[in-house]
Symmetry: C2
Subunit: 337 residues, 2 copies
């Protein structure tokens, strides 16, 4: 005696029976594969609708695709990444693909675990953001499935990449700060593991070092390390101010860090300029007025998805696309009037 109240969801077999055709036929209609008459298509579609049929992705995964794109993200709180995902979402809109996000659990092996989770779940493609995953390890983890890495300048890699021109962006910030008369400029960035390679943060750090040196301020170089998020950035600058407040400006590796710095500065009596990177939405709030480098996050996310879809459709050479950043100079205009 089966419970009539909660029937088992319909399977492809139920649909086939209802439509009076074979399972194979239903499968073909779903994927609009070659070789189905209009009459059959109609009957099958009707049956699917009547039974409220939804294909089980897991079963599909056993034979073919899952129509799922996985995005790995190191920090959900980072508004730049949020924009990237929004762009990716928009690019996927109207396609048969669904986007799912695996957030990297802060701490353990950062990102790799999330990427593996995605691969275990048989996604058709991966958009990865974590700066710390070693290229070799990455390729091994994903096996053969298409990947695009955002923010990695690995132009020799087997995977696609989408980046901003971090060297140019950093140079524009440094030039701006130099122009304001700053020399003792500190750089607030994340952990070593994230900057020792060709990641965005690695490039920004090295460009900072170069520019300081070229400008003759090598002795004023100061790199402050911290974790992800505004709170971490804030704490790091607070500590730096307590410790040795000789710097007059802070260049934050990204806006979340810069906003944290801004907060530490605002809470102290120090008079210190802060610049960031990314131009997250809040950066332009008049009370913050954060000078930063604009990166078109949504476009970058959308482009990444396009690359992924291309790869899934057979392109075999890796592609590498770069976006041009743009310095945005602001000053806090608070309070108004």
């Amino acid at each position: 005696m089966t419970d009539p109240g909660r029937r088992r969801p319909a399977t492809i077999e139920d649909v086939a029976i209802r439509a009076g055709v074979s399972r194979a036929a239903v499968s073909k209609v779903m994927r609009n594969a070659y070789g189905v008459s209009d009459a059959m298509r109609e009957r099958v579609n009707a049956a699917m609708a009547e039974l409220n049929y939804r294909p089980r992705i897991a079963a599909r995964a056993m034979r073919g695709q899952t129509y799922t794109i996985g995005v790995e993200i190191p920090d959900l709180g980072n508004q730049f990444l949020t924009r990237v995902v929004d762009g990716a979402l928009a690019a996927l809109s109207g396609t048969a693909y669904q986007l799912i996000i695996a957030p990297a659990e802060a701490g353990t092996r950062e990102g790799l675990k999330a990427i593996e989770a995605l691969v275990d779940r048989a996604v058709d493609g991966v958009l990865a953001v974590s700066p710390r995953v070693d290229p070799w390890v990455l390729e091994r983890a994903v096996g053969g499935i298409p990947v695009v890495m955002l923010g990695r300048h690995d132009n020799d890699a087997n995977y696609d990449t989408v980046v901003g021109d971090d060297a140019a962006g950093t140079r524009s910030v440094m030039a701006h700060l130099f122009g304001l008369g700053h020399r003792r400029i500190a750089h607030l960035t994340i952990d070593e593991a994230s900057t020792e390679n060709r990641s965005a943060h690695g490039i920004r750090l090295r460009t900072y070092l170069e520019e300081m040196t070229l400008a003759g301020f090598a002795n004023d170089i100061r790199v402050i390390r911290t974790g992800e998020g505004q709170a971490a950035g804030s704490a790091a600058i607070r500590a730096a101010l307590d410790d040795d407040p000789t710097f007059t400006a802070v260049f934050g590796g990204h806006d979340e860090l810069a906003i944290g710095a801004l907060r530490a500065v605002a809470e102290s009596s120090a008079h210190i300029a802060v610049a960031g990177y990314d131009d997250v939405p809040i950066a332009s709030h008049p009370a913050l007025g954060l000078t930063t480098v604009r990166q078109p996050g949504a476009e970058m996310g959308a482009r990444a998805i396009e690359l992924l879809l291309e790869r899934m459709n057979g392109r075999d050479r890796a592609a590498h696309v770069a976006f041009t950043p743009e310095l945005v100079v602001r000053t806090s205009t608070f309070p108004p009037g």
Copy 2:
């Protein structure tokens, strides 16, 4: 001739052969099910390590669990939700479960589609946030799998709920604004579909209406509708100021909206108080100094996960837990000194 460079990933069968046992034995070891000798466990674990074996979730899904919890989110940019997810992530840390997020594509049927995508992917449980999904539709969509809805005051529902006391929180904001002498208080909230039911935003709206009426300011009631996000909130208040700037305070349905309002106010010459809800991290930034109602997002997310796990382990009665919010009064202290 197989390509020796890219071997097919190991299956449970490969492990079984390597360890000289049956597939069932391997399966048992993985799930540490009853009835495995230490010797066998050791050999199997060794074989798994040697072959770098990773179980395919899709295959598991066909028979049992996927060890995956799905989170549906209406707005990735909302920092309160980010905290909720962080809490959920923390609660899941150390368990065998992986968290994945399905972002609701702004627009179409908001949320439902994302929840369905999760169910199609055979998650073991769902944490849903969207305020607009009809309870009946929701239960039908998820079939039998455990769900917890965050922010829905559906105490009669068959699913678990986690909420803040939105009526109390709203009353505290209103009392605060009244105490400051405000009467013409506008309420900035999201679309009708999200407030017509027992969602958090619905409760906040109705409590606002009640309090205004009780205070004798029924004629000053003004409800301003907008979309999700700071930009939307900002645009709505900008338009309201152009249109009819008679209000002296704005109560934002959540901090993202309130911060948008703050921005519109700062950019105008108006002198208008703004209060929000949630206490997102940036709200306490001294340059913003947003008065708001603190909700313990991380704890709420963690609790939601606990409820889910309980349900997955057999609890059959729905549970409903509420958290107490706390008014946080702030003023902008920018510029410093």
